[in-house]
């Protein structure tokens, strides 16, 4: 049985291993012990409300309860760009036109921006290799919306997700080669690593500040603007399913796109329902996780838990849980749960929120 819970100090080593597995492009998991330790500390403080709200990082672990192993992590930053500076390129348009010359030319132009500062970010999705099966990835990604739904006041209405940009098998990013390298004089990996460490000042120091006319870039760099990495396409598909849309901002290093959705418009937030629960030793097991699976959270902040359950256990005003479910969710009597179908399919109780 898999359960989502807040990260704990004892996860440090597992997390560090994951960072090493994750490789280039997953900047939010730095393979650096000290930085990782800081990250966990920040997450722990966030769940105990021991940190300024705008600096909170909610780091969730997916645990295999049968073995106690950490299967993956996902996170939400409550507000990006408050301690460091958040950079994107906005893909803009410049029009050069003259009726007399019969010229009307639109030119894509990249504007360096800090526009997304303050937005909440769903980030750091990583699932370890042996667990990449079934609905684990979806679960890890989508459970965050139950957290967002119950604690909306802690987040910005604007929720974004940065998608890893295109790079080839050797980890070479054509966009970096065409732009960043000319100003940073370092490898993409190195820049990526430094960003992961949070050393973002070097970006301000080295980055070109003026708009970049896209035709000045090499064709291979132009071709990957706003393109996601092959491995990230499923993640983008999941976000789109939830109502996220590409918002015209891209990463300054690899040109990966940013997806965005208003918090209350996120499908899983919108469709989730608050229900009473009843103990039912004969509750239905999940038959086909792709079809009838629901996510159920305990609605707790500090001891947040989420499990998966067959949709057959969901009634109009209550949900049937086994003793094991109740234990996994650490539910007290007379409490409620929040539940939502994993798939944005039909939810018969939408109106009864």
């Amino acid at each position: 049985m898999f359960v989502i819970r807040p990260i704990e100090r004892r996860d440090l080593n597992d997390l560090f291993e994951m960072a090493e597995e994750s490789g280039v492009g997953v900047t939010s998991l730095p393979a650096n012990h000290a930085k990782m330790d800081l990250k966990i500390t920040r997450a722990l403080k966030s769940f105990t409300d021991d940190i300024e709200q705008k600096n909170a990082l909610y780091l969730f672990a997916l645990e295999d309860r049968t073995t106690g192993k950490l299967a993956g992590v996902s996170a939400i930053e409550s507000a990006i760009g408050n301690q460091d500076v958040w950079y994107n390129y906005r893909i803009g348009n410049s029009v050069h036109a003259s009726q007399e010359l019969g010229v009307h030319k639109q030119t894509k132009t990249l504007f360096l921006s800090n526009d997304l500062t303050g937005a909440s970010e769903v980030c750091t999705l990583f699932l370890r290799e042996p667990f990449r099966q079934g609905v684990n990835g979806r679960f890890l990604s989508k459970q965050r919306y139950l957290f967002l739904a119950d604690f909306q006041e802690r987040f910005n209405e604007r929720v974004i997700a940065e998608m890893r940009g295109y790079s080839d098998d050797k980890g070479m990013s054509p966009f970096w080669e065409g732009l960043g390298r000319k100003f940073f004089h370092m490898e993409f990996k190195e820049a990526d690593y430094l960003t992961g460490l949070g050393d973002k000042w070097f970006i301000a120091e080295l980055m070109p500040k003026y708009p970049i006319y896209v035709p000045f870039l090499s064709q291979s760099a132009q071709d990957v603007i706003g393109k996601v990495h092959e491995n990230t396409e499923p993640a983008l598909a999941l976000l789109k399913q939830e109502g996220f849309r590409l918002n015209g901002y891209i990463d300054i290093f690899d040109a990966g796109p940013t997806a965005e959705c208003r918090l209350p418009d996120i499908r899983a937030v919108r469709e989730s329902v608050v229900l009473d629960w009843v103990l039912d030793p004969d509750r239905v097991e999940i038959e086909d996780p792709r079809v009838d699976v629901w996510m159920v959270s305990n609605r707790k902040f500090k001891d947040y838990r989420v499990i998966l359950l067959s949709g057959s256990n969901v009634n109009e005003d209550s949900i049937h849980l086994s003793a094991e479910d109740i234990e996994a969710l650490a539910l007290e009597p007379n409490s409620t749960v929040r539940a939502v179908s994993m798939r944005p399919a039909t939810n018969p109780f939408r109106s009864k929120k």
Binding site: S94, E100, V103, T109, F183, D199, M207
Partner: protein
Amino acid sequence: MYIVRPATIMDLPGIERLHTGYEVRVTTLPSDRDKLSELLHNSTESFQGDIENPHDASLIFVLENTDTGAIAGVSGIDAYAGSGYPFFNYRIEELIHASHHLGIHTSTSILYLSHELTGSSVMRSFAIQPELRNTPYFALLSRARFMYMAQNPDSFSERTVTEIQGLLDDAGDSPFWNSIGRNFFDIDFATADYYVGVKSKTFIAELMPQHPIYVNLLSEAAQQALNKAHPVTEATCQLLFREGFDKSRYIDIFDGGPVLMCPTKNIQTIANSKVKEITTSKLVGGLKYLISNNHNSAFRCAIGNLVDGIGDHIRLENKVAERLQVTNGDFIRYSYL
């Protein structure tokens, strides 16, 4: 004998015949007949001081073979670059991107669209018959403009500039244009150049990208062409360097050619020229000088021999005096050839 004099509308066919090869920087002398005739009218008015707005003053000179009456060259000055409109250039600047923490320190060239040179006096439209290139008449045609400026200092800017034609490839295409302008116009250099001729440089320049341009993002060929003069301009550049002109931080926005610049009063022809009363004489020895009269619309400049003594008078050969339309008691301006 060759003399330089103000062009008139009668010279139009002669000037048109000079339009061959790369001799003329097309953008400063239109091949369009109406436009050229307009330019000549404006020039005549400028010489006569009849022009409504002095900022529009634009002077066209021709080199005439007085034996045949043929036009052998043309040169010009715009009194105030831009004629009331912005005069566009790119200004090259260096930006330092440095991170002490990472030990990175890089210098990046960047091009800013600039109007800074608006109002400068501009040497323009120089073209000469190829067979005269290596004769003293090359200097006569070019420097006669400085002689004119010397006697009308108030009509010109304190700063004189000249745009030197940039590097072109074998096909006559500009790598600089191809890397910048073409992205925004979808027209080749020759077409752009044509429009500059029939419309105006400002007209096209206003359509150019407004944001600064990072040089390291341009094509290799464009970076190579930046601030480089076309080989055909070698003699012109050498002459201007001798006059005190120097490369500047400004380049042409179309072909990336250099803008040479000099404070007007420091231009050697102007700084070294002297004015004296003449006595005509049958034969004069001495050295060759550039000599001009002190008229405006009847301006003449030629090459002649002078013996520059300490007296207030100077002897001028009859033949030269006749060409310059001066006589005993008139004043001439002269400068070392």
